[in-house]
Symmetry: D2
Subunit: 279 residues, 4 copies
């Protein structure tokens, strides 16, 4: 058997790190999960058991800690690019570093109506994400949001759709609309990532809230369009929005009406709507 090596990548996943920033008595925290993947010339490791070109994944983990120490982490994107550039600079046979970061949210507590200096509570499940690809000639980066669960209780319908012999769904002119948004957009590597994130998230939120939704697709497109309007630096936004169904419960066997009051939330199955909206 003559076999050869095709595409390959290796790295370390689920590297967690929490950094505390101390501005006098006032602290803040960033809690990240980092994934690192390296591409390049790793043939000898696979075909000749020659490990001399293999930087251990354990070292990648250590690198996250060490670089976190000295980096300001003004944004997760800046830290991802910094990590990626470090790995590519380590050796010429490493062609590309893929760095994915997600950040959970620790919100400052209020005590007696005042923001507390060093105490926090977790909000979520929403996370902030980014994905950097750093090559020998340059880098690119996307930013994003994941697991952002939102819900509206009216101004949502789905009617006049295509029907075939397996269609039993009825037209709905007033239904619940729940989703868990995954959004991704690309900025230049020197952008103000936090400003853009803030503007894009606000546009997505306000559009979701105010839109007269005639389908998930319809609202997804409007949200994408609003994000493009809110942030001139992006050319496109990718949105993935599951339809987290809340089924209207049939109360008629009990002689009861159900005027859009009682719903059964289900996790499976769920619709999944994905699209790129671009200028």
């Amino acid at each position: 058997m003559a076999a050869s090596l095709g595409w390959n990548r290796y790295g370390k996943s689920r590297v967690r790190v929490l950094k505390v920033f101390r501005d006098g008595a006032k602290h803040s925290v960033r809690e990240l999960t980092v994934k690192i993947g390296l591409e390049g010339d790793f043939d000898a490791a696979h075909t000749k058991a020659d490990n001399t070109g293999v930087l251990p994944t354990d070292t990648m983990k250590n690198t996250v800690y060490a670089l976190a120490k000295d980096h300001p982490m003004s944004s997760i994107e800046a830290f991802a690019l910094h990590l990626g550039r470090h790995f590519v600079s380590t050796s010429k046979h490493i062609a590309e570093a893929h760095i994915d970061i997600s950040q959970v949210q620790w919100e400052r507590m209020e005590v007696g109506g005042v923001a507390h200096d060093h105490s926090f509570q977790r909000v979520g499940p929403e996370t902030a994400t980014c994905a950097a690809v750093v090559g020998r000639e340059g880098a690119r980066i996307t930013s994003g949001i994941d697991d952002w669960m939102i819900l509206k209780t009216t101004q949502s319908g789905f009617s006049d759709f295509m029907r075939d012999k397996f269609t039993t769904l009825k037209d709905a002119d007033d239904r619940l609309f729940g989703t868990s948004v995954t959004a991704t957009w690309a900025l230049g590597t020197d952008a103000d990532f936090n400003d853009a994130r803030c503007a894009i998230r606000k546009a997505l939120l306000e559009t979701f809230a105010k839109h007269d939704s005639l389908s998930v697709q319809h609202t997804l497109f409007a949200m994408g369009e609003a994000a493009l309007g809110a942030c001139a630096s992006i050319d496109a936004i990718d949105l993935a929005m599951p339809n987290n169904h809340n089924l209207l419960v049939d109360l008629s066997p009990f002689g009861m009406p159900n005027d859009n009051e009682i719903f059964l939330p289900i996790d499976e199955p769920h619709g999944m709507i994905e699209a790129t909206v671009r200028r």
Copy 2:
């Protein structure tokens, strides 16, 4: 083989329901997961395959939907008691109904600085909980909080502890303190559950934030004491607080100091501190 039936209970778990309340254009939502367990004389079902005394668990599920329709759900406790009383009233051989409810949090969105009428986002992982036990002679109920993740970055230490031959832990006078609070307390069945919940949660939060913690036990007790102080109606509070460790990363192999900046958050193993604090 002569076998006989000992303690037994049956019911339905993970019954999810979402109710929309419509006050004109302004909506609000409650999303609950309900668990129902019945105790009583169910021997014949087990030993004689006689199902005539077995209310189907499918019916219990339907009952949650139907009773949710007509109940104001001013609190999850009131709804749990209502459900329990219903089941016990169904038939004399049903001696006791156990109703557990947990509620996820849907927070109203802000749009243009104004609270939106019908759009929400999920916060959490914190849930509000209650557990009712309704018997033929009366009922009792506990309220609680679950999965409330909190963190403080200073004013926490652990020193001068017991040591044996397997002890390698060093004294720490300034460490991170992260936990995920589970709290449970009991009120009378006619109490103002929401007021009590609000007062207790505030006392727990503010004490956690301000306490000079010398151990998880020390802070847990102070939090419990504060809850008793904040709510005259409870005699005791049960607290379970894991020590969600954030390990200080050793950067010395890289010639770097680590002045309480870089931590490794881990989920396992974790400490677990549980106690009842009472008047």
Copy 3:
């Protein structure tokens, strides 16, 4: 506020350890997750921030590793008792140690029809469990099985049950019966735990397979009775068996019959049947 400490326990959860046993070239493995909880006089830690009686939970974790090294681990029960006795012997103010262990299954691979010396694959989700309580005067222990998912496709029905105004379920004389068994039984602290486990599991499995089930309760009782018959050393067995529903899909809208062929498996909601079967 004068508060006092009520019931309390503290310890370490999710302590994982894997031990390799080497009998020449033939290896075997045990992978355990251990939970430790200590009870005793820990008042001073809570009320006076006096840690001198607090064995760190980090030490408990170390103790699992150290004792695993020197213990033969012939059974998880023997190791749990050994751990518990160690903690209670550490200091007089420790009154009781609670040790819970669960073990995942690594099954030896077959290579060329022969059992391989040192390669394994994970089966499951079933785990073997035990729970020891070691006090100053003695110890007790229960053994068990958890997450054992089983299914039968006929010889299961549920009919002639109690009906009320919320009942919509129809009689079923031939339905699927899927469950995930949790079983717990108690032996003396010097018992042959592995023999008993083997005999009890076999009795549970064969009874589930062969029983003409008229309800989950009916089969649960028969399984418990068979376990008592198979193992003379136990006086009782606790069984918790969710009804993991497989709903018959209504294909009539598509003009198709569904003669017990096409089912929708759901995780939520699910029935939950629990009972003790005793001599």
Copy 4:
């Protein structure tokens, strides 16, 4: 704002179905989770709220049930292609259907040494997977395995690797090697999918067991090469193998040796090695 629609896909995820096959008294089961995604001309739905071209995702779910009824399901691949062809044939504006299926394993029980007719237990976490893409001009399909957890306790090392200033890992000539294999390969749409799956899995398993592993990369490549040798119909195999670390516990603080006996299994972080092996 002038925005336009870029790439898009929509469908239904986590559609579960269980089919019982009855050959007289002898039954067998297939439990599948299906994901459906359609691509084509869906611009009007997004930009004009015109749903006339949108087949509801609810209909896709129904279609899985209905087609499962009449299909022999000799393989998951055959069923995925059948589903995909159905959706593409529904309407000309549907250009491509993506069908992903995963199947859990229900193993027949043995009762009294004999395979039982209608009782099963779940093994796993391993699943069988496939992914079909059906277009208007033709179809392609990949088969695979997911979550296959395997472990070897010797014949594995990692030495003489690349070192930088953040490297602390020591050479290891005898370590544990645990992984959770994801494998994917492509056959023609008329292939004997089950035979190929069986041969490929056997080659992967036996190579993992017997290989003198000098790195995960080294063994991954050998496993891929063996799969190519075992199945002449595939040109390449994609393998993703995390390094599920079992860390050697340092027992020296307790004055104990640890001759590869006591390990700490961790889920995070983990290495991740991915490659295509081709002829």
